[in-house]
Symmetry: C2
Subunit: 571 residues, 2 copies
């Protein structure tokens, strides 16, 4: 750790130092985004996927509002970012040269609504060809604590791990880079690394601003020690180890990608902190999973509210999720996760057939609820999904016990569906809702269903495009029906090769990829056994094709090729 | 809770009180065991399954040694019970009238070796037809603390939940019954219940003797509060609430079937306590699962060693496991679990085709290891499986990268298999072992495999006898290869409709039922990619048909019909 004197000196030095060296992979453009062909049958239409090759963890996620001091701005409780003032920045673990992990960079995309993503040029490159830029986070240094941003309130600092692979699994240490153009181009800090404990298992820093102590706080993983280290800093450059949080919840074989975030509590004016930890390998379903711990944070120490292990998602493709930086703690927090699993991510068919692998989950808005018995529960729902509705395919507010059959071959292939059973009483907790998405060509299907007040299940085992012993076919979870509401619900998005399901308004959620040889094009919704006194409403909407909207005449998504001159695609 | 004075009075009263009422289900024999047809194709040959109808949780497990004071007897570290002095008693949740849960009794079976089980008559009946006898435990009251056993050191006390269902989910309270004939017949205590907190979610007492405080200690579940209550008693009749252990690990929707047990630690002369908690529904794989917490216990309070949630078994059919009472804490502890899952246990095909449903897992011997990084790990292996080897089908101590093909149609259908890769070094961690059990008639198969030092997988999705959205097909876990040993291993037992797998000497274990339309009869073991410097040994043994050995000329297993006159089947 550095002393305060060193801190001030290094702050000054950083303003004058030359950029450290950068290694550019042969053939990868440096001044513009990589162009992508998003026409493949597996390409999601409303999920982010990289233009080519491979992505894994989302990184450095932060909204940058032009010229505004984010933390002091008065927001509505639900921030929509529908106007031109706000841009969401998604950086992501990116290998631009192969459709598997390795040669890691920080890719970059931006969005006004978290669904239409504009590809940007690569944001952070490695210093040489034996170093990988691993995961990390980004903050908006509105008060110029770093000294990098005189006369500027939208300076962005990225905090990330460099993995030095010169001789196998070498040292992993924490580094920073700063952007004076709102997050598009970065200059590496001259006195990197900012934290180095000479470990080869030390990574994934996530930084927040802790207002009460007026300091930055970092959570970072000592991966195979099952320790989340908490560090503090006044300036993002000089870090002091404050405490450890260790051996909580599911361990697997590694802790990765910690997140610490303040978020609101349903029916309360209080906020809580949530520490999220991803583990891989060793998830109960195999491979990768994320878990969370509600608790309190005083700027130096995190204390979990209890000893429970709470899992984010009951599917198999939701890992390394990150919460966007800088959303005030009393607003719903917004997150994205990597929608794949290390057990099979390098083998899924998209790499061979379409030249890309892996995508991000839907953006989710998140808050905590204090529920009976279980205590604290993370509630996650798709972020403002209505904003990308293209067409109502069906809506029936009184379907009853009936079946709805839809041909959606002429849509984008991305649908949002929602079914609600209302006016339930303790004596009418009966009935089932089942949804089946089928290919009219091959008969392949993916299905889900649930008894009211029972375990919701998802079955992806009847698609033929990918066979792997780790590619589990079936998933289930109890939706934790809350009898006080009288309503049971299921909703979700199917998007060509990914299905996300939300039960009871986000009490449970699941993310699963799937690969059918023929596109699915027919939806059957069946409701049966529901009491006559209960209400049944079902709706299905086609979603926009956010990538086709960006494609040029050749079907290519170029991305923001004119960044810096104020151009770029606008929605 | 009772005062000491009440305790002494009630102890006296119990010796003189008449037995409380008992309800005998019509048609169920009361003086002899229920006869069973164990010839069905799904009937396991070396696992316990009930003679007819339905079992779930194992209960009251205790070894009773004729006339010996168990806790003071000097045992070898591995207790084999191969001679005539020791009998293992397994009680079990039993519905003798239907192949689904309901009408719960305590069934009973005994064994000299934990594989050959002799059915006994039902041990505990409900007091009336609106009360169920739920799970619990049994102890040997060698010192006659209860006063039930003057001049006797092998008196058995069963401690169990009565669920009063008169009006729906009624009160659940804790009751005791005592046996003066070594655990075969029980008299209910006159002053039951011994604990009643007027809750309808309070069950599954498990009692141990705590030597240091010279008291009995009970763990019992406040199921939907996610609380394990700890009670103490001097005499098994009068209980004092001592502490609670709550909201640890995975919660699901209920805590059930807690166990507290002292067990040895590998490479240490110290023992530790382990608190095991089962949850259902809400396991990560759906439905039912068990987890454990290593820690310390002072007679009144349990403290977990850390905040980690550790899962017993990476399959889907291992729940409500119980540790046998009375094995000294410095010996390997012996357990059995219910080998099914509440999500589908009432639907598996054996109920319709063979008149029974559910079975127990293999008996396992268990100890803790303090392993790098992860900390404490429960190591579980089959208990003395060699004792039931019937025939060596194959053994090759230097198989190398080759395939072994076996027709086992002429065996019992129960096999033990073991594969070891030895002399591994950091540079030779390569190669895979795969095993496939196939039906030569239908082509159905169940398979498992693993890379050395990678995730072990099991796939039961290619059997056709049972289709259910909750019947997951695929499972995997990381076997936590310990490089210091230089050996990676996989072993297991397949037994007609159940497969149990053990990785790296029990670092990971999995229990999965499966249902093929045609019996599996062909085993292929394939080893590939192993370095030339490593050793490969593979062995396969047919196991005894423990049930056919007991069948009479009509193929019926009568069980111990002459208990009380000293008779009964002897192995």
């Amino acid at each position: 750790m550095y002393s305060t004197v060193v801190c001030l000196l290094s702050a000054w030095a950083s303003l004058t130092a030359a950029q450290t060296s950068t290694y550019y992979s042969p053939g990868v453009p440096t001044a513009e985004p990589i162009a992508g062909d998003y026409t493949g049958v597996y390409r999601p239409r409303v999920h982010f996927s990289p233009p080519t090759n491979f992505t894994n963890d989302p990184n450095g996620m932060c909204p940058v509002v032009n010229g505004l001091v984010l933390l002091r701005h008065a927001y509505t409780r639900e921030r929509m970012f529908k106007d031109a003032n706000g841009t969401w920045h998604l950086y992501y673990q990116y290998n631009p040269t192969e459709p598997v992990a390795g040669n890691q960079h920080w890719g970059h995309a931006t969005s006004q609504d978290l669904y239409h993503w504009e590809n940007q040029k690569i944001a952070i490159w490695p210093p040489n060809n034996t170093t990988f830029v691993y995961s990390g986070s980004a903050v908006v240094d509105t008060n110029n604590t770093s000294g990098f941003f005189p006369n500027q309130t939208n300076g962005v600092v990225a905090i990330y791990t460099l993995a030095h692979q010169t001789t196998g699994a070498g040292v992993q240490n924490q580094n920073i880079a700063y952007s004076r153009d709102g997050g598009y181009t970065f200059v590496t800090y001259a006195n990197n690394p900012v934290i180095d404990v000479h470990s080869n298992q030390f990574r994934d820093p996530k930084v927040i601003w802790h207002s009460a102590t007026q300091k930055w706080a970092m959570v970072v993983s000592y991966a195979t020690d099952f320790v989340i280290g908490i560090y503090t800093s006044p300036n993002l450059k000089d870090w002091t180890h404050a405490s450890n949080f260790s051996h909580h919840g599911l361990l697997g074989l590694q802790y990765e990608c910690p997140n610490l975030v303040e978020m609101p509590m349903l029916n309360s004016t209080s906020t809580m902190y949530l520490l999220q930890i991803s583990i891989n390998p060793g998830a109960p379903l195999g491979g990768s999973i994320s878990q969370y711990f509600p608790g309190s944070f005083n700027g130096t120490h995190f204390a979990a509210v209890d000893g429970a292990a709470r899992i984010n998602d009951f599917g198999k493709d939701n890992y390394a999720g990150q919460f966007f930086y800088g959303i005030p703690g009393d607003e719903n927090q917004v997150s994205l996760a990597w929608a794949s699993n290390w057990q099979y991510t390098s083998l899924v068919p998209t790499g061979v057939t379409e030249g890309w692998r892996s995508q991000m989950s839907l953006p989710r808005r998140n808050y905590l609820a204090n529920v009976t018995s279980i205590g604290y529960d993370l509630i996650s729902t798709p972020y403002a999904i209505e904003s990308i509705f293209a067409q109502e395919l069906a809506y029936n507010s009184s379907l009853g016990n009936a079946t709805l059959l839809l041909d959606y071959a002429s849509t984008s292939g991305a649908l949002y569906f929602s079914a609600n059973i209302t006016h339930l009483t303790p004596s009418t907790l009966q009935g089932t809702v089942n949804l089946t998405f089928t290919s009219s060509v091959s008969g392949e299907f993916i299905s889900l269903g649930s008894p009211v007040n029972g375990d919701t299940w998802i079955d992806r085992s009847h698609t033929s495009g990918f066979e792997n012993p780790y590619f589990n076919g079936k998933f289930s979870a109890n939706g934790q029906f809350d009898s006080s509401t009288g309503t049971w619900s299921i909703s979700g998005v199917i998007d060509r090769s990914i299905l996300e399901v939300f039960v009871n308004g986000g009490r449970q959620s699941a993310t699963n990829t799937f690969y059918s040889d023929s596109p699915l094009d027919t939806l059957r919704v069946g409701v049966a056994g529901v009491a006559g006194s209960a209400g049944v409403s079902v709706g299905v909407w086609a979603l926009e094709d956010t990538w086709a909207q960006q494609a040029d005449g050749n079907g290519t998504v170029v991305g923001n090729a004119t960044m810096g001159s104020g151009g770029g695609y606008r929605f």
